[in-house]
């Protein structure tokens, strides 16, 4: 099959039939003889000192097999990517967020486990929760981590006070340029936290055999989970095997190390396999991976003709109780605030600020949607000030091929402009706007994430192929599409390949399903391994066909002489030959593409995102209808144009796009975490944390623009999983501003917030009157802070 034909053929994911028939086993579906059931004791309060922790009664209950606290595990602090080592497996002296794990039990039944949890006695001394990033930054604010100065941390960071990390993106001198700019606009935008909400809750089962443990986990990052389990339990990594059977979605919520360590320790103590399945409520509050709440202050200078001259900005990211990977994401946020625009002078600062809320982290395109939502609204405001329409303003300022980025990287291709033009053209094709309807647009960019990754490819004795990879399939189909790449190299059909995946004992290292990196990196590894197998096949064929390797090609399942297609030998025959001699067996990892050349000499807090490698460019255009009396916004249509470099698997790329758009629309309008003044989440259920339903989904039109990246993934491809979620909320916001005549500067743009903006002009950025808004909560907390409340 020719490469083009292979790409055009209908693609059916290899795990699809098992999933369609209910035969696919997810982590919670696995059966183990003697399985015990785990349950966690969560703090249930945002900030408190643990005065007394007594598990005696729980341990004495019949059917209770293990009860663990921090006293039962090694005393060591850890942190994501070793950025800030600020946490322990269990809370010991202090709890810093509602979902923090205080103890864990294993019992014969889930009911007994619940009873054991109820029998654990904890006495807390409540402390005032710090729930607002600006209050946290005030001098004299109580510290979330009083011992912060003793924490080990990444050398590029200097955690202090309530600041876990600070990163800047600086080019030129924005202060001087702003002073000279004829038009300067300052604005504030505020985004609330949101949740990833995979439909499968976190599930972990640990099963020991001697000194080795197999951990079945619903993780997106098996190798990271293995490494952290090894670290916190002080077990050599090679004695830990992490297996993911099928993963029921992640969206970043299952990145990082979560409960593998707790469950492995429980299973060791219980001397039998132990399974933990989170309830939906626990799934909301306990896995510390939520979308960052952000406060974005923007200041941009324009020339009279609308040319952007300079930008200063400060982004506060609420990292919650623990730093997790937020400092890195702060740097990403700063890059997103600069955006794919020509700006000569840039000075953007991002602070990762501790609060007593659920820790944030790398949820799908972390910081991207919020940053884009802020800066793209800002751009519409700037455009209006100089009398330009939003499209003309973007045409004038978006980067073209050869333009320089915020740290002087050179952009490649006109993807930013082309996606704008295509999206605008298509959204206009639906005809005149009805009453209260409006169109909004938003552009943006997102990085690809080069990294190490490995794969093996082999040809079995029957001529079929097998890919053995460490890559992780979270549902996107990225791993399932790897056979397309191998098949293209080997002149075979994708369905002739089996895949062995997501088992740390079997596949070589991969970074997991995060950062839109699977195809980009593991695809490269598979292509390299397949090319090696191809070389081996052609050498065998050269002997069989008495031809020179240089004259041979692989196509349609055969090796044949170029120009003499009848002189051929099937791959199956070559495989038979190989299996009496040297096996058809190869490995690949390739060399991760280097970051584009750039100048980050003026930036601090450098954690690897000083430039955006092979950035994906995109523009979404939306058509909405506003009900001005209620503030309810219905999104009628979304046109999503994306420059993904090269579409490798159209059905997979489309699925990322439609899924990303609807997730983004939920984030934009109906989701958003609501906290009480006590720092506890008020909407930790799917009734009150409202994902859009099928009935709410708009029509989505996908447009793929293909400008292959010279330093990209396979065939010039770029990351595709995260970008679709980035600009949708921004486009909706810009449409709301047109339909309502007033701007909403608070995310999510709930009906009540839109209504309030329409009726009072209050844009929500300083919202204090919402009953459970975090700022209101902070005010209440400040009142309550008169003295610790002993309960």
């Amino acid at each position: 099959m020719s490469p083009a034909a292979a790409r055009a053929a209908p693609w059916i994911r290899g795990d699809g039939q098992a999933k369609a028939t209910g035969q696919a086993r997810y982590t919670a579906d696995l059966a183990f003889p003697g399985l015990a059931h785990a349950r966690l004791l969560l703090a249930g309060r945002a900030h408190a000192r643990i005065v007394r922790l007594d598990t005696t009664r729980a341990r004495a209950l019949p059917g209770v097999l293990a009860v663990l606290t921090q006293d039962d595990v090694p005393k060591r602090r850890y942190g994501s990517f070793d950025l800030v080592l600020d946490r322990t497996l269990f809370a010991r002296d202090r709890v810093r967020f509602e979902g923090e794990v205080v103890a864990a039990v294993a019992a014969l039944t889930p009911e007994l486990a619940a009873a054991a949890i109820a029998a654990i006695e904890v006495e807390y001394e409540d402390l005032p929760p710090i729930l607002d990033v600006e209050i946290a930054l005030e001098s004299g604010s109580p510290l979330v981590h009083p011992e912060i100065d003793s924490y080990r941390h990444d050398p590029n960071l200097a955690p202090t006070g309530n600041v876990a990390g600070r990163s800047t993106i600086v080019k030129g001198d924005a202060t001087v340029a702003l002073a000279a700019a004829p038009v300067v606009i300052r604005e504030r935008y505020v985004a609330d936290m949101a949740h990833p909400v995979p439909i499968e809750p976190h599930t972990v089962t640990a099963d020991w055999a001697g000194d080795r443990v197999t951990i079945y986990s619903s993780t997106q990052v098996p190798f990271a989970a293995r490494a952290k389990t090894a670290e916190v339990l002080e077990i050599p990594e090679h004695r830990i095997r992490v297996v993911v059977t099928h993963l029921g979605g992640g969206f970043g919520g299952k990145c990082d190390f979560h409960f593998e360590g707790h469950v492995a320790a429980l299973a060791r103590a219980a001397r039998r396999p132990v399974r933990l399945v989170l309830s939906r409520r626990e799934e909301f509050i306990a896995p510390d991976k939520v979308t960052h709440a952000m406060v974005v202050d923007l200041e941009t200078g324009l020339a009279e003709d609308g040319t952007i001259l300079a930008r200063k900005a400060r982004v506060l990211l609420d990292c919650g109780a623990y730093a997790s990977d937020t400092p890195t994401i702060g740097q990403v946020a700063a890059m997103m605030i600069a955006g794919p625009y020509r700006i000569a002078d840039v000075d953007i600062e991002a602070l990762s600020v501790y609060t007593n809320r659920t820790p944030s982290g790398s949820v799908r395109a972390p910081s991207g949607p919020q940053a884009c939502w802020a800066v793209e609204q800002h751009h519409d405001v700037l455009a209006a000030r100089v009398g330009l329409d939003p499209v003309a303003f973007r045409r004038k300022n978006l980067v073209h091929d050869g333009d320089e980025g915020p740290t002087r990287q050179r952009h490649e291709g006109d993807g930013a402009i082309d996606t704008l033009e295509r999206a605008v053209e298509r959204i206009a094709a639906d005809g005149a706007l009805g009453p209260n309807e409006a169109i909004g647009v938003a552009s943006g960019w997102w990085f690809s994430a080069p990294g190490p990754s490995g794969a093996f490819v082999r040809i079995e004795s029957d001529g079929s192929g097998r890919i053995v990879t460490g890559a992780q399939e979270n549902g996107t189909g990225a791993v399932m599409a790897l056979p397309i790449l191998a098949a293209e190299e080997l002149g075979m059909r994708p369905e002739e390949f089996a895949i062995t995946y997501q088992d740390t004992d079997t596949g070589p290292y991969d970074g997991g399903s995060s950062g839109s990196q699977t195809t980009f990196n593991n695809g490269r590894a598979v292509v390299e391994a397949a090319r090696d197998v191809k070389r081996q096949l052609l050498e065998l064929a050269a002997v069989a066909l008495e031809a020179s390797v240089a004259d041979l090609e692989l196509r349609d399942g055969h090796a044949s002489v170029v120009g003499s297609p009848d002189r051929r030998v099937s791959i199956a025959e070559l495989a038979t030959t190989a299996h009496s001699g040297a096996l058809l067996l190869a490995r690949g990892s390739g060399v991760p593409p280097e970051a584009p050349e750039h100048d980050a000499s003026a930036c601090v807090g450098r954690l690897g995102f000083e430039s955006f490698a092979s950035p994906t460019f995109f523009c979404h255009a939306v058509r909405i209808r506003l009900d001005p009396e209620t503030g309810i916004v219905r999104v009628l249509k979304v046109v999503a144009a994306t420059d993904v470099g090269r579409v490798l698997n159209r059905i997979g790329a489309l699925g990322q796009l439609t899924g990303g758009v609807v997730m983004a629309l939920g984030n934009a309008t109906t989701e958003g975490t609501v906290y009480g003044a006590d720092g506890r989440q008020r909407n930790a259920s799917l009734l009150d944390y409202k994902l859009l339903t099928t009935a709410d989904g708009p029509e989505i039109e996908a447009i793929f623009v293909e400008h292959p990246a010279s330093n990209g993934g396979p065939r010039g491809s770029k990351g595709v999983g995260e970008p679709p979620i980035v600009p949708t909320a921004a486009a909706v916001a810009n449409a709301i501003a047109i339909a309502a005549g007033v701007r909403v500067r608070r995310l999510p743009m709930t009906p009540e917030r839109v209504w309030r903006a329409v009726t009072t002009g209050d844009d929500g950025a300083t919202e204090v009157n919402a009953p459970f808004g975090p700022r209101a909560a902070a005010v209440e907390a400040a009142v309550a802070a008169a003295g610790p409340d002993r309960r």
Partner: protein, 164 residues
Amino acid sequence: MPELLQLSVDGLPVSAVVEPGRTLLRVLRDDLGRTGTKEGCDDSECGACMVLIDGRPVNSCSYLALQAAGREITTVEGLAGPDGVLHPLQRAFLEGGGIQCGFCTPGMLISALALLATDPDPSVDAIRDGLAGNLCRCTGYQPIVQAVQRAAAEMRGEAGSAAS
């Protein structure tokens, strides 16, 4: 007191001894080993646990197992023919990108089956309303809606006329 529960699951008579408070979902998954039906929430909001009871869609997570005594339960595991031939809905989901992580898929398929049983030629709006009790975080729903359209056309004998 535990009671003997007898019912039919995907055409097979089965029985289990269950506590009165036990849900149908737990009986299916834990007692009968039918793990195709999933648990995604605790408030009947996600739809991953959807089964048919005598043809009607029910969230099995909030239905007491003993209430289903004597009933015919249809789960995702009963959709394919005895020869393993996929149901048109399963095939349409597979071919149309209606499956990503797959965790909502069992419930989605069951809701689609219930919808097509009462409305063999549903409009797009009817499909969207019919599947509104099943949350999916991966697909954005559009590929699923299109797959149901295709399957419906095929089941009406209009194979090939389906929307693409």
